[in-house]
């Protein structure tokens, strides 16, 4: 049974946000307009967060990248899909089983079941869940571009990254038709396909032959807020600086130890 996961190489990431747009077009996410955007209601299943790493501005929690060699604003561009945790806090609190952990590791959201109580939203430490604060609107011809494979969400429900489940369903069907397992690279999410810098890799974390499985073991690998014990299935590789090839700053080594000791 595969366990789908993603590895995002922050060293390669350019912060170009192609993933965000790819996700939006693939999953029929509407633009929410200025007023709602300023209210923090813009929906990005996949949001690129600029994290100041140098102490100025707001700093990221969780393991930091290489310490700044010289004083300059250090940004980490953190592409944030749903982490598809192994122990998702959101599925625990959902009162109506609208969000569930799939047997193949995908945290699923069924908007047509959701009652919009926003408990899951509050529970998610990564804030990767989005509530539909206003009507979906695709004025004029924009509706033509909607992806027929993905249903639109009504207002008043939660939606989130589903690892492009509709792609998965098709690929899975094809595999069944040919009576075989799903090949590596056959099922990738829209963001992975779009990423021009190839910062993202997608595949089966439990299958040693898959690239993600190897990358997830890299010394540069870290999981966001792993101290919360959610066990994200989206793994990040932090930046290595140009000179030192050990790559790992102290903080990460420490946090890795923590990881090892449980």
């Amino acid at each position: 049974m595969p366990r789908w996961g993603m590895v995002i190489d922050l060293d390669r990431c350019t912060g170009c946000q192609a993933c965000s747009i790819a996700c939006r077009t693939e999953n029929n996410v509407p633009a929410c307009g200025d007023r709602n955007a300023w209210k923090g209601r813009a929906i990005f299943w996949n949001k690129v967060v600029a994290v100041r790493m140098d102490g100025h501005g707001e700093t990221a929690h969780g393991p930091h990248g290489a310490a700044a060699a010289h004083s300059r604003p250090r940004f980490r561009f953190l592409p944030m899909p749903c982490m598809h945790c192994e122990r998702p806090p959101c599925t625990m609190v959902c009162p109506v089983r609208a969000t569930t952990k799939n047997v193949e590791g995908i945290v699923m959201q069924v908007p047509s079941r959701c009652i919009g109580c926003r408990l899951c939203q509050a529970a998610c430490p990564y804030s990767r869940r989005y509530f539909n604060w206003q009507e979906v609107s695709f004025p004029g011809d924009l509706g033509q571009a909607l992806n027929p494979d993905v249903a639109l969400r009504t207002l008043g429900v939660i939606e989130k990254c589903t690892f492009c489940i509709h792609r998965f369903q098709k690929v899975r069907e094809q595999a069944r038709a040919e009576d075989r397992e799903i090949r590596e690279g056959e099922y990738v999410t829209a963001c992975v396909q779009a990423c021009p810098a190839r910062a993202r890799t997608f595949g089966d974390l439990d299958n040693p032959s898959h690239a993600v499985a190897k990358l997830a073991q890299s010394p540069r690998a870290f999981r966001l807020l792993h101290e919360l014990g959610t066990g994200p299935q989206v793994v990040y590789l932090h930046e290595g600086s140009w000179q030192d090839d050990s790559g790992l700053p102290v903080r990460d080594l420490l946090s890795k130890e923590k990881e090892d000791h449980g």
Binding site: G40, V49, H61, L78, P89, C114, A123, L155, G156, L228
Partner: protein, 563 residues
Amino acid sequence: MADRDAFTYFRPLIHTSWGSLALLALSAAGAAWYFFGAFYLQFFHGHQLTGQGTHGAMWGSMVANIVQLIGVSHVGIAISATVRILKLRRYQQLARVAELVTLVSLTAAVCNIAGDVGRPDRFLTNVIKNGNYTGPFVWSASVITNYLVGSCVYLYLAMRRDIYLCSCVLPRRRWLYRILSLGYTDTPEERENHERTVWWCAVIILPIMVSVHSVYGWVFGLNSGRPGWFNPFQAPYFVLGAIVTGFSGVIVITALVRRVYKWEEFFPNRMFKGLGIFLGFVTLLYLYFLFSEVLTGVYTAPEAERGVLHDLLFGRFATIAWAATVGGMVVPFFILFVQGANPRICSMRVVVAAALPIFIAMWCWRYLITVPSFFHSHVPYRLAEYAPTLFDWSLVVATYSFGVFFYLSLVKLLPVLEIPEKFKPACPARPPRITLGERRRWGALKRVSIGATLATGAGLIAAGIASRHRVEIPAPAIWISGIVCLWTIPLQACLLPGFPSAGRVRAHMARMEPGLLRAPRPAATAVGLTECAASPATIEYWIDEQFGASRGIRRRPEIRGIG
């Protein structure tokens, strides 16, 4: 004498002033706005009308309000239950005022929850049909239903006699009270039966009320990802908060009732003083909890955690936090303390003057529990400031005016005061018709049905819990129906005509109370309450009925209408 009593006891039911009509209309309008705003506007135009946002406050003033109302709802029953169990005579009349508060605020809270979720149309059906047992929301649905049904049953049984009296005494709407009293005839054994049942209800309800607010503590406390929420302390913290809120709320409302209906004799200052002392005590306790929470927050490791606390103490929420804590808790506490310590001071005004700020401060603290956490998400998003919009505020206000409306109509419909036993109707509405033989049969039936209900209820609950994992089975629906089922037991116990156990009969025989076995004859038609001279009232009554004629000392009830 008698009619004056009746008039004082039933004042709200008998006479309605223009003022209260106006208030009724006003609050009705408010309630209407709530339902329009929450269930029409929000439903079709989304929660964008509120000030909330995903990267910002996901929950806002409405949630604060819900917690507040749930808090208030507890204490109603809590008070009356304590009064019952400990037989606190001084506070006896407080019981029903408080119970009505429970009923109202609980309903209002449920309305708020329904208005706060994105899809109220799915809300109840989905939670009950495919509820997920790990979700605190489902627990709250269960416990709230439990609590609502329970308190209704409790309220009704405790009130039944008075309703019956209404049906005998009031000039208008007797038909209504006759329906409501469901064939209650004020026989001593019925009374005794009721008291026993109600006592048991009280005993059962107390722990339930603890459960409800604990659940609300857990709604917040179980979110590991939320700085400021995630601590094991949350449940007791919330329960205590509820007690503080509730007491302040009940004090204010009782004061109003007393003011409006001139019931100084039933709600004496000394009662308020007592309440005040208790309120002061719990407030102090709450302050202590608060302090210890802040302390842990300040010392605790996670940055976000510290961020929240810092924000509360010195940051963007500092003003409201300090104002609420000092102006709304410390100062009132000292007021109450002074009053409590000083035997010469004993005034309702003082207590209310302390209770009101406490009530408001508690609301503020609900708000401060809910909102600040969102401004310290672990991942540094750019967060939108949250301020409740006019719409938010209007809904909050509207909720309370809904409460006012509901409470007022209840007061106008039901007897608020418990009418002491020494009063009996000059003319019993109807004589008990059931003969002794029938009673035996009914009694047997009753015992069977109660046993059956008990089995069914327990079974349903067990079945529901057992099937919690099955997607296709509506587990919560099952266990909730089980709970409701169980709550019919006290009703049965009181409503079904029964037959006292042989033991009890013997006891009564020993105390030579003939009435238990014999039906009273219909008395002459009359109105008004007549006060029985001696007690035990029953004996007096029956001797009078039996031998009065021969002894020629029949007491005629005065025939006079009531103003």
